[in-house]
Amino acid sequence: MANSAVEIGITHAPHDVSASFELGNIGMWVFLAGETMVFGGLMGVFILVGISHGGWGADGAHVNWRLGAINTFILYTSSLTAALAQGAARVQDSARAKRYLSATALLGVLFLVIKAFEYAGDYREGYTPLAALFWSFYYLMTGLHVLHLLAGIVVIFGLAFMVGPSTPASWFERKLKYVCLYWYFVETVWVFLFALVYLAPTAG
């Protein structure tokens, strides 16, 4: 006979399991796990192909590690401003958080500008994506990273734009957390890329 949920359902209401979890946080971690495997797979392939070639030799000696180092510094600084934005949001200072957030995105833009000059320089010297296997990997890996950075910049500017005096502080703090998590991930990927693509080939 039990043909309706009403008979079985009970009166108690709160959905208490979800209250202890943040959906966006879990979703972002799961997403980044998948992303880790994309970049991890690519870097793993790069390392293995490099080993089977006995190192990248002369091809890898021409990367512009100076610009890469400057960019590493810039990206680290942008993560610092992102963390400062989170700190400001935690004490409900939305205006200051917004300034730090904009600084983060602007540093991201600066990274891209330097990267563009670097690509142009490589290209002028004849190191195009078709020049050698090393350069195919170089453009593919850094290019994928650039796309991720670009997405992060758009989202950060979007978030900074949306925050106003009437924005609920807890909402802002949560969204900021997800965006920053992504940003730290993109920064971490760069650290690995810098070591693999810039330092290792030029050192040997």
Partner: protein
Amino acid sequence: MAETKPEAAPSTDAHEKMGFWRQYIFSIDHKVIGKQYLFLGLFMGYVGVFLSYVFRWQLAWPGTAVPFWGKVTAPQYYEVVTMHGTIMVFFVAMPVLLGAFGNFLIPLMVGARDMAFPRLNMASFWTIFVGSVLLLISFFVPGGGSKAGWTNYVPLSDAAKYLPGNYWGGNLWLMALAIDFASVLMGGINFLTTAIAMRAPGMTFWRMPLLVWQELAASVLFMLSVGPLIAGVVMLLFDRMVGTGFFLPEKGADPLLWQHLFWFFGHPEVYVVAMPGLGIVQEILPVFSRKPIFGYRMIVWSVIVAGILSFTVWAHHMFVSGMSPVLAEPFSVTTIAISIPFAVMLFAMIATLWRGQITFSTPMLFALGALANFLLGGVTGIPLGTNASDIYLHDTYFVIAHFHNTLVPTAVIGGFGGIYYWFPKMFGRMMNETLGKLHFAFTWVGFNMVFIPLFLIGLGGGQRRIYMSSVYTYYKPLQPLHVIATIGLLVIIAGQIPFLLNFFLSMFRGAKAGANPWHATTLEWATDSPPPHENFHTIPTVVRGPYEYSVPGMDQDWAPQAAAVEAGAAQG
């Protein structure tokens, strides 16, 4: 037009107020999205069956005109074979088992009002829809669809000179695959977040139905294995469209790299498809045996162990590829080891039947059929996983028969069982039992008529991917077996007529199903059929495990997971 907050009480009429487009097309309701996946998967499935009909006819009667197609040319043969595999694995098995059943059932089974990210869920469906359309378009571009095989090995699939006339077909194939992967990744984010964070009160992890466990395992496996192949797909697209040489031996690259990337994903992918299929079977068996599932926790641990091991077996697909024979040995060992957790699951399922009160309803018939054939598929994997015997069997029809005996029982036969079992919940009406049993008989008998002969062809040395078998003398004695197999396929196709009639007629004319027509225990049966907008009138409190059948001392032979009003009060 005040937006309803997620925690607010469900408003049944909120659903009615939405326009047609928001309600049925660009819906963010997981139940509607699940059904959209089901329809897409069924459509693509019948496209895939038609393609298999074309090449099986060519295999049985080489060179004769195929009805509704005409004479099959060699490029066409490789096109239909490639597209059959691609469609069935990536555009049928995944959308139906993950997209349809995962979407429809995970929130209902864990007691949630919807998925964690409903908009992402909608985006996931429309992404795979675009991927499916791209793949179908590739039939009509100059040169037709991809002919490089569903594994798309390089260098054949790489530079245009190796496979002329495949330029756009191959490019679209790669794009459709990348889009498909993106869609399933979005789905996986939803599945995991929903099951971790949106369980009803009392729904502990160890009270989740096995199907939920297996959908989660499949999502994790997919997410952790597909990354390198996504990178590989992009690399191959650059090779084809820009002119890089990531996989080209003449540019100093190692073509085996693609095989490693493909199978590092490809083997876990088998379990991405098989696990939800087994999960469906494990939901059906206890209901129609009126017994708790045997060894619930052992099954969950088997799923986890199999999932971990699945990352260590991929090179068993590559024993004849020229990779180091020293490496082949450990990969043989891990491959044999992975059969242990699956054997545990099979024994648990068989033990569930033991001394049960079995009802041979249509869902149960499909579940039993799936069980029998998955056993055959698993056992025949052992000679393929052992590198010595694989060298003989590699690339023969034995391989084809083996993997169809693992994937068809789980994805297709199990999937059909799931459709019959949850149809009342999806559409509020029962399917016809007579037509259902007819469908089962044709499908299951036909399936074995196709693939038992293929085992024999493979043991006889019959190579796969041969367009005109009649030109080889060694193939002549094997030819009658190909004829039997093709007749088997025609039997399967005939069996789909009762299914389609049943499916579409029952949707409108079937007997009304109550909330719980099978007297089952899991949460989806504790709400209306079809469930209201936001699933539950009140979020239920879960008081027990998912398979409490024939509990001694109860006046009915099932104890629902959801607390009854009185029971909840007694719990205090």
